[in-house]
């Protein structure tokens, strides 16, 4: 996949994300402040605007960097900041060229590491990491051509686990046990993004 193709793929995915606003708002509002829907819809719209400014011969890595920057500044909430800086760090670490599964998984690991470090969080804390990390594991060991599907399934499974526990990080942690039963909003946003890539 070249840069232009990646840009087109992301553009379609971000277009699809527009419809997730209500779901994410409601999930975030259950335990937090309800702004995640805005973060994702504004962020996705900003990504599309930014993508439209890129040259046709742009490199995949620069597509990713541009998208991360746009997403991070549109509505710089916790999720936007963590994801944006994570993706930027991932792109810097991996220098994406062909978007092969191996490359993307390595990139994803760097993203997850950065989020965990900046967010002082780990798998099990009921955050985006609970969908992101298992999805990378699944993609890495998936059959040829099945990486996205495997990642999506694993993310969905990870989210189900988040519903069973209380959050340990972020705004949702303040809700303590009252957050049990509600899946993590940020992890769900990541799942919806994977689904939108299909």
């Amino acid at each position: 996949m070249n840069g232009a193709q990646l840009g087109a793929l992301l553009d379609t995915a971000c277009e699809r994300l527009a419809s997730t606003g209500d779901e994410l708002r409601e999930l975030d509002a259950e335990v937090g402040d309800g702004d995640l829907g805005i973060t994702v819809t504004k962020g996705a719209a900003a990504v599309r605007t930014r993508l439209a400014t890129l040259d046709a011969d742009v490199l995949p890595n620069d597509v990713v960097l541009a998208a991360a920057d746009a997403f991070g500044t549109a509505n710089p909430s916790t999720f936007a900041s963590l994801v944006s800086s994570g993706v930027k760090a991932g792109a810097k670490a991996t220098e994406l060229t062909d978007m092969s599964t191996a490359e993307v998984v390595a990139f994803g690991r760097a993203v997850a590491e950065t989020i965990a470090r900046r967010g002082k969080s780990a798998v099990g804390d009921k955050t985006i990491l609970d969908a992101l990390v298992p999805s990378l594991d699944a993609a890495e060991f998936s059959a040829d051509g099945g990486a996205l599907e495997a990642a999506t399934a694993a993310a969905a499974a990870g989210i189900e686990e988040t519903a069973a526990v209380a959050a340990k990080k972020g705004r949702a942690a303040w809700a303590g046990d009252r957050g049990i039963g509600v899946p993590d909003a940020g992890a769900t946003a990541y799942l919806r993004f994977l689904e939108a890539l299909r």
Partner: protein, 334 residues
């Protein structure tokens, strides 16, 4: 949505335009997007600059506390969302009078990320930055994890203490230490009676049945510790006061200041009903209530509800709270 609003997407920018139009003598923009604002006379040479910020929707928090004897600058995010690190950096640059800058803001994940980034960028530019997070909401984490608590209406006192210390010529470390000392002697707790609607979302952030209250609510509608039938005002005041009082370990003979803060839609009348009861509790418990602040100091858009903040006073805090302060929003209120 029962709101005076044009376009939800331009809500915050129009609010800022309005504020700058009305208060051009006191405030000026410190960035092209006007999301960084400073005192008109900033930077103040050789004084520690105080920079705060956070999401919109809490007026007079945050912009309203930029003024003499208060904050020097502010960075303003979208409703309930952090400003960007660039916006914080812009406010920091124009607040730096050469004696360094103290970041004082509420403990929220997105804000911490963006302010920390801004601090790094500022340090690269040669500006010394320190940070003290305000974390006064006693119900958001137990006492042994005080630092995890969210920051609510206690921000008002933090600004006053920081601004007063800075105005008196204290060093950056001294100002930071004064705010930390305040933090250790302050607790808050809220109660919500109705939700807010984010302009860009158009839907309530949560729902409460008629006649229900959410005890321990945060200023973004974050869940509290308990939801239940609305109690009489006196019982609510008692519960808030007792919880904070226990957290601070108040005992007979202690001196305190109290803030009864309205979250937005609650009439001032009702805040005084709560203040009345707190005053009665203090009298009954031998606690010396030196000063009561009543009004809207930290709101959550049109949420109905209130919060109580208690500060244990010693000579140091008392002295700083007694200094003059003025801003277009809270001059006489602090």
């Amino acid at each position: 949505m029962k709101k005076f609003i044009n376009d939800p997407d331009s809500f915050v920018d129009e609010v800022i335009e309005g504020i700058l139009a009305v208060h051009s003598d006191a405030l000026r923009a410190a960035s092209d997007d006007s999301r960084a604002i400073v005192r008109a006379d900033a930077p103040i040479a050789n004084q520690v600059g105080i920079v705060t910020g956070g999401g919109s929707g809490h007026l007079p928090v945050f912009l309203g506390y930029v003024g003499q004897g208060l904050c020097t600058g502010v960075a303003i995010g979208n409703v309930f969302s952090s400003p960007s690190s660039d916006q914080v950096l812009a406010a920091t640059r124009e607040s730096n009078g050469g004696a360094g800058v103290l970041f004082v803001y509420g403990n929220y994940g997105g804000d911490v990320l963006n302010f920390d980034d801004a601090a790094e960028l500022a340090e690269e530019e040669g500006i010394t930055v320190r940070t003290v997070l305000v974390a006064d909401d006693v119900t958001s984490a137990p006492a042994d994890r005080r630092d995890d608590r969210r920051g609510v209406a206690g921000l008002a006192f933090a600004y006053k203490v920081a601004g007063a210390a800075a105005a008196q010529g204290a060093t950056l470390d001294e100002v930071a230490e004064a705010v930390e000392h305040l933090n250790a002697n302050m607790g808050s707790m809220g109660v919500g009676l109705s939700p807010t609607i984010l302009p860009a979302a158009g839907e309530p952030t949560f729902t409460l049945d008629e006649g229900e209250m959410e005890i321990g609510i945060g200023i973004h509608g974050e869940r509290g510790v308990r939801r239940g039938p609305l109690d009489p005002a006196d019982s609510i005041a008692d519960e808030l006061f007792a919880t904070i009082s226990d957290d601070l370990g108040l005992s007979s003979g202690d001196s305190i200041a109290v803030l009864v803060n309205g979250l937005g839609a609650t009439p001032l009348e009702e805040l005084y009903i709560l203040a009345r009861r707190v005053s009665q509790r203090c009298n009954a418990g031998g606690i010396i209530l030196e000063r009561t602040y009543v009004g809207e100091y930290a709101t959550s858009l049109e949420m109905a509800g209130a919060s109580l903040t208690v500060v244990r006073l010693d000579d140091r805090i008392r002295h700083l709270l007694a200094q003059p302060a003025s801003s277009p929003f809270v001059g006489a209120m602090l």
